[in-house]
């Protein structure tokens, strides 16, 4: 008997102002698997990610976590569900007005009433595991480099050991070395927590480092999905063009109205 997927999406659709951003997305991620979603900018990747943890409500379709449907759940149920998720955003989304230790332990302090001293200890322990100095905990996000901010965002996502981790372009804007370090931290964190991860990435080197499985989204549908090792022999021209970063190909020859729909964002 096949195991129930950790995350399962069926026919997920979302439209913004008449633009079809998701046109029926089907995806399945097994427990402790690492899925990376690739695709051109504006193709619906971030919207899909936000649908997964209830930040955006799809128009139709089904999203199941451990076989339990999450669409149609009330606010309180969604909040409980989100406690099983950790998420990092493309630009970190650290809270500017809070020092690093409060950023990292935000959920622990507000949802589990963790005290100040304990929270500082946990923040220090978590960020040192991610290769930052303990003294960073009293600094503010604006005082840190892009790479350090990404690590702090990662620390905030993993600090309460969630079952599911969502990463939105975790290496964007970083140099290749720092990007490689972040990838390694993601892989290590996933292994240590036994978490299921979904990552959005444009960085193919990063994809090869962290993915068990890859899915390419284009025009709001999953064009191809398969094992990461099979990415180069997918037989799908769009996947071939994207994976190899080719300027000429079906992705650059799409009609203008398709392009504008791809760019439609909430």
């Amino acid at each position: 008997m096949l195991a129930t997927p950790k995350i399962e999406l069926l026919g997920v659709q979302k439209t913004f102002n008449g633009h079809h951003v998701l046109r029926g997305v089907d995806l399945s991620v097994a427990s402790q698997e690492s899925l990376v979603i690739i695709g051109t900018s504006g193709g619906g990747k971030s919207v899909l990610m936000k649908c997964l943890n209830g930040l955006i409500k799809p128009d139709s379709g089904s999203i199941k976590i451990d076989g339990q449907e999450i669409l149609g759940k009330g606010r309180a149920e969604l909040e409980n569900l989100r406690q099983r998720f950790g998420m990092t955003f493309q630009f970190g989304a650290l809270f500017d007005s809070l020092p690093i230790w409060q950023n990292v332990t935000f959920r622990l302090r507000h949802q589990r009433a963790l005290g100040r001293a304990a929270a500082r200890d946990i923040a220090a322990k978590t960020i040192t595991q991610l290769g930052l100095l303990e003294s960073v905990i009293d600094q503010y996000p604006a005082e840190l480099s892009g790479g350090m901010q990404k690590r702090v965002a990662l620390a905030r996502a993993i600090v309460d050991e969630p079952e599911i981790l969502l990463f939105d372009e975790p290496t964007s804007g970083l140099d290749p070395i720092t990007g490689g370090v972040i990838d390694r931290l993601i892989v290590n964190a996933r292994k240590r927590l036994g978490a299921t991860t979904i990552t959005i990435s444009h960085d193919m080197a990063s994809v090869r480092r962290i993915a068990d499985k890859v899915a390419m989204i284009h025009n709001g549908v999953i064009l191809w999905s398969g094992q990461a090792k099979d990415m180069d022999k997918s037989g799908v021209p769009e996947v071939h063009q994207f994976v190899h970063g080719l300027v000429e190909g079906p992705l650059t020859n799409e009609k203008p109205n398709q392009a504008s729909e791809n760019r439609a964002r909430p």
């Binding site: 936000k50 943890n53 209830g54 930040l55 909040e79 409980n80 989100r82 406690q83 998720f85 998420m87 955003f89 493309q90 630009f91 989304a93 650290l94 809270f95 500017d96 007005s97 935000f106 959920r107 507000h110 949802q111 905030r156």
Partner: protein
Amino acid sequence: MQGFVQNIGRTALDFLATLGRITLFSLTAIRWIFTPPYYWHQLLRQILDIGYYSLPVVGLTTLFSGMVLALQSYTGFARFSAEDTVATVVVLSVTRELGPVLAGLMVAGRIGASMAAEIGTMRVTDQIDALDTLSTRPMQYLVAPRLLAGTICLPFLVLVGDIIGVFGGYLVGVYRLGFNSSNYLARTLQYLEVSDVTLGLVKAAVFGFLIALMGCYHGYHSGRGAQGVGQATTNAVVSASILILISNYVVTTIFFGG
């Protein structure tokens, strides 16, 4: 002609839709003010920002307004030998009208803009979404403390502003216009009623709520990028200023009847 009518209709519908959105936004925020958990640290931070750090600007504004009011009313009343009423005019004008309106407009510029810019920046940098993912309701964490702090702090600011404004009038009356100090003070208190001060404080509470509401609403619904945040900031200040002037008339009318 048809296009003109259509435009009027569309504008009216847009206005009503915006009004509806703002009403829903404020009702939701008010609900969260009274619902645990309470974010005391956020509330204290806002009280400090609105109440304490706005004191200099409100104090300066009301001081010079009281001073100029004494000068101008002396010029007018001297024409029909009613100079004695200057102290009364200053205190009534400052407590009933100038104190709350000027403090409101100053705070709208300072706090309304900063709230819209801060929340707008949080919106465009995904910090508000991040709050949601951390199981914290943005309306409860960001908006409710600001609305409460605005409503609480403005009356205190206005009370201090009233005292400083009246003192400004006293300085000009005694040291520039030659009034006797004790006579001026006696005149200041002679016709002042508790309801004059109360009216000003009620207005201040309404203005404080509206300033915070406009700052939060426009920031929360900020467009993308720096331009979106800039537009949200402008909209917050302009709409708060207009609402202050409109609600000033409405509150005065309600109290005038009494």
